[in-house]
Chain length 297, copies 4
């Protein structure tokens, strides 16, 4: 379970028997997508550049330019379309790379990466998305609004360790070493209604809940919120840390964090244990990866 | 097996028993990544816009601007990095959406999509990447250079139906309905040496090989080349069609095509049958999806 | 004065004596900038993509990458910064190219350009910004709020031909053939306070005012608003035309239109007649050009 | 002549009588454009991101999306086109901002700007392009290949102080305080033939020529090359400085530098003295500005 590679977390070191055990979990053959479709100018965490699709190539454009990508022999009007995407990896469902959040006078991240030595103009060169592993694991859903009997958690509502344990017990599932645990707040049930989403934004786990996950040996955790932790934190600590959960899990322990994961259908189906597969894009210099994970039951 | 949805191919309609059968294939628990990492200004098919990562947010930039994304309480120097990616979905390993290649006076694609009705400024709105399914299937590798006893196929070398059958027989695997068949030419064994790659570019299946795949009922096919078919085609037909394989499989039958799939390690391991998983990003208006598929044996 | 080039308007055909006469206008040697500085995420007409500056090259990034743009001999820590701009030409002060607005079943613009024949994937290839002339002309300011005795015109307030004439008479200036006439509404006096700007948005000239300009032989006109005409138009005509002023001046007569021109200081100085210089960027495929014109008195 | 503003050079402080004197120079009323049109994927200094124009809005795209930018009343098929530009300010004819080149352990630029204090994620906030002045000055062309009797200077050919003086004397012009001096090497006479351009690349002034300009009190200088100085420098100095001319003029004295200025037609016309006008785009965070200057004779 221990990560010995300073650029990769424990999720990168799953044993073959763990992979096979995860693949053996499904009994129904049903596949749930854990991502909603992305679209131009979709709602994003405020500080991120906008998500945009524009056209790079169109049949009409090729023709107006007299372009012949396949040479002059084309009697059937064969053409193509290609788009240009402009986006951060933190757009919609995604996983944070280790090189996403930083701390300290040297702005370091997990494994000792820091801007002075490792931040090029095409992105971080240590612990970046090119080092992200594929995720093939047992997944567990903790449906907090289901446990509380509400539609979605109110804005900034805290989920602590005791509640994590209580939700798991209520659902009849345990959390084990090697798991990926997904925490539902109900936030994405209102997607993409930004006004309604604002009423339910940034609920999530506090530092005690993060420790509870760490003690159980999870290799990654996720939520349906834009940031995997309750904001503002109920206890900043001293000196004040605005994101103590990210600091503990991602910076100190390389526990990968999934965000904006769509859990509504999974919760409706009561699917609390499943095969979880997420396949990040390996991109040098990216600080995470968009992905469309699946849960298979 | 028949696609009844004009915006989706047969791969979107796998039965639960097929999913479970695919998941049951692995016996060793070994995971192969089928994508090489992407990087700024990586080699691309000439007509595509460049692949670029640049920084949108850095700890130093936040500080110089006096930005406080989490409010004023931050005594630990907490910061973050986020990049901006600019790329087409056809960068590195990817799958083509149905709305990628077009034909005819109306520039239509599979299912009747056409620019006049369906091409907005943020991309096609019919058969686009937002409709791409997750792929969880039996995968089969056809290692053509392995069969021929060469390192990589020479430039523009044709793989026809007879050779497809011969490779499969030589490897002792059959191709079945519902499969994803991956054809290795050895091209990516030279990645990213563009000079060497040029000597081995655009080998691949011809129209007879495409028909062979279609007759067997595959739901998707792929290769390690930038375009899934030999170029130029040995027979353009009349009227001349520069990409008869794309036309048959993608435009006429909605058989999804994977390109730039990394197959070197899989071939070295002699892994000809495996669980294939690829999880496209659902993006409105995109004409395909970058993805990092895995083969699990 | 008549434009004979289908890709250029009359402003491109100024006679040498007109140039010299314009240069002879200033008597004080004072230069007014007619553009406010642009910045990332600045307010824009809603449908435009955001204006963004990001860093492409930094001294720290060069160092972290070990890049040596000038070779290994560098004992003084010489480095450089370069940014990447992403923007439309319609961001802040700009001039519309002829290939900006379109009309009719064939979506044509001035001179017969149309998408079917002339719109490539890198933009229009007829009447685009590469054909924009430099502007060195007599300029005239018509300060409508100054005439009305208000700070700024209310939202959607109409300026008609009679008021244009009255403002000119009140100011003691005439409008002549070859002039560039700039109409102040006061809108940019509230820049960049979007709430206040909304209260004063889209006032401006109606069709009668446009005809008044045309009759006087101006070669270009401008305003401090995002679109050079009152919106909605007081008279759509039949069939309804949502922008009859653009249609008359830009599509029918190739009279170039300047928008988002900053006129506050010029108005405060009472400078109603001046040397106007604007130097568009010649860019193939662009539909206009950002520019920072000057008025010299 | 001395700049007292740490964010602006002496060109920003021209006296009214100097402006009027410059405007009085033209006698023929002829306007020369000093920039060649830019286009997608145009040749650029290697390290810069590519220059790209793509479409953001088209009449067909608006229609396919059912977009109604002006509301539902539109019986004339009124539409519009807008492009998206992606480029650095150092694309084609441009002026460097003070915040372009850096030196020393603190990577400072003119006026004390440095990345630690002044480099935000949207670019430098000190001495950036938002502080660039309009240029309305006497301009002088020094036609070095004309003096030498060649088509264009050979690659890396040095122009020193003695030759600068000799060219000026040969042409019968003097260089005065407040001037903008433009040095022709003939490089852009081969635009855009990259092979021919390579044979004539990076000729230009050495440190002695830069000192000669400084002693005469010029406020800006320019050339038709991509970088305003001979590369590699004939004398790196000790410690080695790969760009001693930029260091002296831009970093130490805030003498603005124009690059990629098109001087072929001006030289053919024998126009050695003229009114020079260049109007930079004021953009926060940009490190220079594309511009299309004019020379008026």
């Amino acid at each position: 379970m221990t990560a010995v590679d300073p650029e990769r977390g424990p999720a990168a070191f799953r044993r073959p028997d763990e992979i096979l055990a995860a693949l053996a979990l499904p009994t129904r053959g049903e596949v749930f997508s854990l991502a909603v479709p992305r679209f131009t100018d979709m709602p994003l965490f405020g500080a991120h550049p906008p998500f945009r699709v524009s056209m790079a190539r169109t049949p009409g454009g090729l023709r107006a330019e007299g372009a012949q990508p396949w040479g002059p022999r084309n009697g059937v009007g064969y053409g193509y379309m290609a788009e240009l995407l402009s986006a951060t990896s933190h757009s919609g469902a995604h996983v944070d790379a280790l090189a996403h959040v930083t701390i300290g006078d040297d702005d370091h991240w997990y494994g000792g990466g820091n801007p002075r030595e490792h931040l090029g103009d095409s992105g971080p060169r240590h612990g970046d998305a090119s080092k992200l592993p594929p995720f093939v694991s047992r997944g567990v859903l903790l449906d907090v609004p289901g446990f509380r009997g509400v539609d979605a958690l109110p804005r900034s509502s805290v989920v602590d360790a005791d509640e994590m344990a209580a939700v798991a017990a209520h659902q009849g599932v345990d959390v084990r070493a090697g798991d990926v645990v997904l925490i539902r707040t109900g936030y994405l049930g209102h997607w993409p209604d930004t006004e309604a989403m604002t009423r339910h934004a940034t609920a999530g786990p506090d530092l005690s809940a993060a420790r509870w996950l760490l003690e159980r040996g999870v290799v990654a955790a996720g939520s349906d919120t834009e940031t995997f932790e309750v904001q503002p934190p109920p206890d900043y600590g001293d000196p004040a840390n605005p994101q103590p959960v990210h600091s503990l899990l991602l910076i100190e322990h390389a526990i990968y964090l999934f965000e904006s994961i769509y859990l509504e259908e999974l919760a409706r189906a009561g699917a609390y244990e499943f095969l979880f597969v997420a396949l990040p894009l390996k991109i040098h210099g990216a600080t995470g990866s968009m992905l469309d994970p699946v849960a298979i039951v």
